[in-house]
């Protein structure tokens, strides 16, 4: 069952996800960033469902493990759509939207097939290992896509502060999760990444997005070259 700390962390996560939706609605940005809000709304529902499953079956149950990994993969796929929508925003003036969508869908299908092929050859416990491998690869591909998008932002001199902050926070999120899953893949018996690291990383995106919606006006502009670690 859940301890008081875990209960607090869970409740805080749910509250933060709801805050993003409220901030987006209050700043009239719900439709403009529809996929970001759709992702946050789905995350909210998933978190509530996970909470119910833990209450019914327990934290270490197989039911929770299966629901956790499947919903995680589903949320990651949804996060791809967020990324595609940000690509569409950045490449808006170049009319390259259809190429971006096609490329992203092909990459997603390729990642799923690659993960399935790797696990099919190496394990008897196909489903659970497939989910960890798939999540690690999905997050990593998400990270690579975010990296490319950040490069495009620097190259095309995209100045919208909100878009820049959404992309950078996604980069931190994808890389943190890809690293965590890789760590779990390398050391399957390690428990602390799942217990402490995953909930802490889970806070990053709702905090950053709530801040961007609430504090950064849509018309705010920023020179992206100033943000690059290596000066351009």
């Amino acid at each position: 069952m859940l301890g008081p700390t875990q209960f607090l962390v869970w409740s805080l996560g749910i509250l933060l996800e709801a805050t993003v939706l409220v901030c987006a609605a209050a700043r009239h940005s719900f439709r403009r960033y529809f996929f970001l809000n759709l992702y946050m709304g789905t995350t909210l529902l998933v978190e509530i469902s996970r909470f119910q499953i833990v209450r019914s079956f327990g934290f270490s149950s197989q039911e929770f493990a299966y629901f956790y990994y499947y919903s995680d993969a589903l949320l990651t796929i949804l996060l791809y759509f967020v990324l595609i929508s940000l690509y569409a925003l950045v490449f808006d003036e170049m009319n390259a939207g259809s190429h971006v969508r096609l490329g992203a869908v092909l990459l997603l299908a390729g990642t799923a097939l690659f993960s399935y092929a790797v696990i099919y050859q190496s394990s008897g416990k196909i489903l659970s290992r497939f989910m960890i491998e798939l999540s690690q690869n999905l997050y990593f591909v998400g990270l690579v896509l975010t990296f490319v998008l950040w490069g495009a932002i620097l190259k095309l001199r995209e100045t919208r502060t909100r878009v820049i902050q959404f992309v950078l926070s996604l980069g931190v999120y994808f890389s943190a999760f890809a690293a965590t899953y890789a760590l779990r893949n390398l050391f399957p018996n390690l428990d602390w990444p799942r217990t402490y690291l995953v909930p802490a990383i889970g806070f990053l995106l709702p905090l950053a997005w709530a801040h961007a919606f609430w504090r950064v006006p849509e018309e705010a502009r920023l020179a992206p070259a100033r943000l690059a670690v290596v000066p351009r």
Binding site: Q136, Y139, F140, L143, T146, F147, W150, T161, I164, Q165, L168, S169, G171, V172, S175, A176, A178, A179, Y181, A182, L183, N185, L186, L207, A208, A210, H211, W214, R215, V216, A220, L222, A223, R226, L227, A228, V229
Partner: protein, 133 residues
């Protein structure tokens, strides 16, 4: 092998994205002009320096937190710690890195001073509301 490569690449990318994200937070507050009162309280005479950061953060914790600061202030605090780490290690070997960390630390202090100004006006606003009630 694959997982190890992903781990190394992801950790490096996370560092790069985190630094850029913190700099985007700092850039949004860099345009704001500090009042003479806050400059005086924070001890900023000409330009904010990294050495002012700790004192400004202590003052910041004395004021009631604004909900909007919940994310940005801890992120900049973590960024400042990272800069201190770089200053104590890599910057000793690479002189250009020392100048860069000093400049970044100063900007972190300026960001904290802007947050302090916001919190002071927030406290004043709350006090005025209480007096009115």
């Amino acid at each position: 092998m694959m997982a190890a490569l992903i781990l190394v690449f992801s950790a490096a990318a996370m560092l790069q994205f985190f630094i850029s994200y913190c700099r985007s937070l700092i850039a949004t507050s860099a345009k704001q002009v500090l009042s003479a009162e806050v400059k005086d309280v924070a001890g900023i005479h000409t330009r904010a320096s990294g050495d002012d950061f700790k004192r400004i953060m202590q003052l910041l914790h004395l004021c009631p937190a604004r909900p909007e600061d919940r994310n940005s202030v801890p992120a900049i605090g973590a960024y400042f710690s990272l800069l201190n780490f770089l200053r104590a290690t890599l910057a000793r070997i690479v002189p250009s890195m020392r100048a860069w960390t000093e400049s970044e630390r100063g900007q972190c202090a300026y960001f904290a001073a802007v947050a302090l100004e916001r919190r002071i006006s927030f406290s004043r606003h709350m006090l005025a509301q209480q007096i009115d009630a």
